[in-house]
């Protein structure tokens, strides 16, 4: 591994909803690896990805795991920069009061700046 990784920033962009595919679950696995590498990690929820954080999920009747619970533990794993795109949120009839964890709401320009500021971006 190379030195001085904490100066390197990695953004993980999640753009799919939680249960119709495994993109969220596997993005989460990648994020936790990045955080364990001591990188400067950020996560952005955009498009249908905002549904990942919707409060009131209940998977009891399906054979699925409620993997989205792990987002609430982000801080324990050193993931502190969590962002959500305001237009994606609002156009789906949601507000940041309906989310399972605290996030920073970004407008279009904020998203653009966030992406531009990163060393690397992974899109899931």
């Amino acid at each position: 591994m190379i030195s001085n990784d904490s100066a390197k920033s990695v953004l993980y962009v999640i753009s799919s909803g939680p249960y119709s595919n495994a993109r969220g679950q596997e993005a989460l696995d990648a994020i936790l690896i990045g955080a364990s590498f001591d990188l400067d990690v950020s996560v952005l929820f955009i498009h249908d990805g905002v549904f990942q954080l919707k409060r009131g999920q209940n998977v009891r009747l399906s054979r699925l795991k409620q993997f989205t619970k792990t987002y609430k533990a982000f801080e324990d794993f050193g993931v502190e920069k969590v962002y959500i795109h305001d237009l994606s949120l609002n156009s789906r009839g949601l507000t940041d009061a309906e989310l399972i964890c605290a996030v920073t709401v970004l407008d279009q320009q904020g998203v653009r700046k966030l992406i531009a500021d990163q060393t690397k971006v992974f899109t899931f």
Binding site: I2, A22, F122, F124
Partner: protein
């Protein structure tokens, strides 16, 4: 420029693999270096040694192998994504007492740390969904 790829689209049903390979060829032709191709999520299916497309269809595994041999590019499938989808090397299949592995020998198996390592030293990381 040093470029590494992340491929997450499925074999056959997605355009991801073909686009990624075309990108790799074009990048090399333009004088760039591909440092690694990492297959994650449904992308691990690109490594199946058992896939048999029709004669006039894209032979993903053979084409990836040729490219990797010609340009000495490591092709890597994610261990956990692969195991979830039935893609694994012989050693893993032995560990699970499952007989032969299902991944082609041109692909090796590693964890997500390897994707991060490669991305941090590359000039660009390009994702093919």
């Amino acid at each position: 420029m040093k470029i590494n790829l992340l491929v997450t689209g499925a074999l056959y049903s997605s355009q991801s693999g073909y686009s990624a390979l075309s990108f790799c060829r074009a990048a090399v032709a333009a004088g760039h270096t591909i440092s690694q191709v990492f297959f994650y999520q449904d992308g691990v299916t690109q490594a199946s040694r058992l896939s048999r497309p029709l004669d006039d269809e894209f032979e993903a595994v053979a084409q990836w192998s040729d490219f990797a041999n010609e340009c000495s590019v490591p092709l890597i499938i994610c261990v956990s994504a692969g195991e979830r989808r039935g893609l694994m090397a012989n050693e893993q299949a032995l560990d699970y007492e499952l007989g032969h592995g299902s991944s082609h020998s041109s692909f090796s198996v590693a964890g997500l740390g390897v994707l991060h390592d490669a991305s941090l030293v590359a000039d660009r990381t390009v994702t093919f969904k």
